[in-house]
């Protein structure tokens, strides 16, 4: 009896949780390789890559590049700003950290569509290009993630290392660049990855401020899912927007674990 309960605990429950995490994505994978799948068949009647050809015709590659550039721009702004703020929080360099903490956490509470809606009115009057406004708004929404990731990174780093480098003759800039930053690489990459994802995944801000003119990968998915009725194309677009971050995560995980192994040996 006890053995059965233990087996349920160690096998069935983890399997059910894995099921919860993975099953929602299964229709996308099946539809992306289906060329014919009419109900009530449980599996596609014909396999094929029609959806991929249609996605290419719809301009998925350009849209993916545009999403990548948007993610990169957001990461380039939010990561250094978050690293600076994270250093101040993590190494307790602020006499009164409460107000900066609240300000830098505030974007988590604000709805992106509300901020985009307000800014849209202003940028129309000021003539600010939509792309610039989208990058700025998304950088603001990425800042809490980069700041608090870097805060945790700096909390785990001993500031004495930087001081020791300075005692050994390094300038403060050299100490930061050659001692602290290499030690904070994992945190920096994580922060940059999170900021990139904010830009890469965004739909509402790009739609509201861009007004449909900035065609990123989520915009293509949104327009296909919203009314085309072409499930194969929608799934293919969705899979192609999910793969690059997944591959990047895989590479990062392998690199981080091999780095850990190297440092242990």
């Amino acid at each position: 009896m006890r053995r059965t309960a233990r087996r349920v605990h160690h096998t069935v429950v983890p399997a059910l949780v894995l099921f919860w995490l993975l099953v929602p994505l299964s229709p996308l994978v099946l539809w992306a390789v289906a060329s014919r799948w009419s109900g009530p068949a449980r599996l596609p009647q014909d396999l094929g890559l029609h959806g991929w050809q249609e996605a290419l015709d719809a301009g998925v590659l350009t849209a993916l590049v545009r999403s990548g550039l948007l993610g990169l721009a957001v990461a380039l702004i939010a990561t250094p700003l978050g690293a600076l703020a994270g250093r101040a929080f993590g190494w307790r360099l602020l006499r009164r950290p409460a107000l900066p903490s609240i300000v830098l956490l505030a974007p988590v509470v604000l709805a992106p569509f509300a901020v985009a809606m307000g800014l849209d009115v202003v940028i129309l009057r000021l003539g600010v290009p939509g792309e610039v406004a989208v990058v700025l708004v998304l950088s603001v929404f990425a800042l809490p993630y980069t700041t608090f990731t870097m805060r945790a990174t700096y909390l785990a780093l001993d500031p004495a290392l930087e001081e020791q480098a300075r005692v050994l003759g390094a300038s403060s800039r050299q100490a930061r660049r050659r001692v602290t930053l290499p030690a904070a690489t994992t945190g920096l990459v994580t922060a940059a990855g999170l900021a990139f994802l904010v830009g890469w995944s965004d739909y509402a801000v790009t739609l509201l401020i861009g007004g449909g003119q900035i065609v990123t990968a989520p915009m293509l998915i949104g327009s296909s899912a919203g009314g085309s009725g072409n499930d194969s194309l929608t799934s293919t677009l969705a899979v192609s927007a999910s793969l690059p971050p997944l591959v990047a995560l895989g590479v990062f995980t392998v690199a981080a674990s091999s780095r850990r192994t190297a440092s242990y040996s």
Binding site: P14, L81, R95, P107, P112, G118, T147, P159, Y203
Partner: protein, 293 residues
């Protein structure tokens, strides 16, 4: 060598002296204040008729009053979705974290899959949830339920599919935050509890749950405010009327009638106010749990 060590010991090798930190946080704060301050001021001004697209500015609360019934229904719809999704995300997230912390290889696999789920855009999740739960979706086909007997999970009376998608993705977020926050300390404390005779259930209730509570509460709050402000998931999976606040705001914002702009802004103000009230309401609990650390 001794000269060096005496020089090192004469230095403050703990945290660098306070001050100078203001310069480090200033750029990030400036960006946040400039963008969100401008945007929120503009949204409030638009909702009060002070920033019309055409015509002269005139202070008026019509944006709010002309929508009272719709705003109430949309707020209700948003709250139902956000509360349901958050409760499910917190429960599933805690379950994932518990298993991840209690099992070796399976735990690492769960953490990896959770991180992978986190990289998937919500729009992709919404697309997948639609293809899974609609009346001709994968679940209906695999379970062999007739189309006519399939419940209205997508676009029905209750926001099942919207709540499911938000809970699915946010559960991965909750799990990762909880594991990151307690991962290092839990194994040792659990061992001590086990040595002292605590059974598995007591270890979970008396050790893991209190240890995870701050991370669980703060990540659930983030999931809740995200669900309140999320547009694309409810747009794809929700019913046409009543819509949740973000969907209603976008519909009014893109209406050809420019008079709808103050109404759209009023809807955005209500959504923002709701999220702020939720965050302020949760602060005492978070502080009591020590989540600010």
């Amino acid at each position: 060598m001794s000269a060096l060590s005496s020089r090192l010991s004469s230095l403050d090798v703990g945290y660098p002296a306070s001050g100078g930190g203001a310069r480090l946080v200033a750029p990030a704060m400036l960006l946040v204040v400039a963008v969100t301050g401008t945007a929120l001021a503009a949204v409030i001004a638009t909702s009060l008729g002070l920033l019309p697209l055409v015509g002269r500015p005139r202070l008026s609360a019509t944006g709010f009053t002309s929508l009272t019934g719709d705003l109430r229904r949309a707020t209700q719809e948003s709250l139902v979705t956000a509360v349901g999704a958050t409760l499910l995300a917190a429960a599933m997230g805690m379950m994932i974290a518990t298993i991840a912390l209690h099992t070796g290889r399976a735990g690492r696999l769960l953490i990896g899959v959770s991180a992978a789920v986190l990289t998937v855009p919500h729009l992709v999740g919404a697309t997948a949830a639609g293809l899974l739960l609609s009346d001709v979706g994968l679940a209906q086909r695999w379970l062999g339920v007739p189309v006519t007997a399939w419940p209205e999970l997508v676009g029905g009376r209750w926001p099942w599919a919207t709540g499911f998608e938000l809970a699915w993705k946010e559960s991965a977020f909750v799990a990762l935050v909880v594991v990151a926050s307690v991962g290092g300390r839990y194994p040792q404390l659990r061992e001590v509890a086990a040595v002292l005779g605590a059974r598995q259930r007591s270890q979970w209730r008396r050790v893991l749950l209190p240890l995870a509570a701050p991370a669980l509460a703060s990540s659930s709050l983030i999931a809740f405010v995200y669900a309140l402000g999320s547009y694309e998931v409810a747009r794809l999976l929700g019913r046409a009327f009543p819509e949740p606040l973000p969907v209603m705001a976008y519909r009014l914002f893109t209406d050809i009638d420019v008079a709808s702009r103050p109404q759209a802004a009023a809807t955005a103000v209500v959504a923002t106010g709701l999220a702020l009230v939720a965050a302020l309401g949760a602060l005492p609990l978070l502080r009591r749990l020590g989540a600010e650390r």
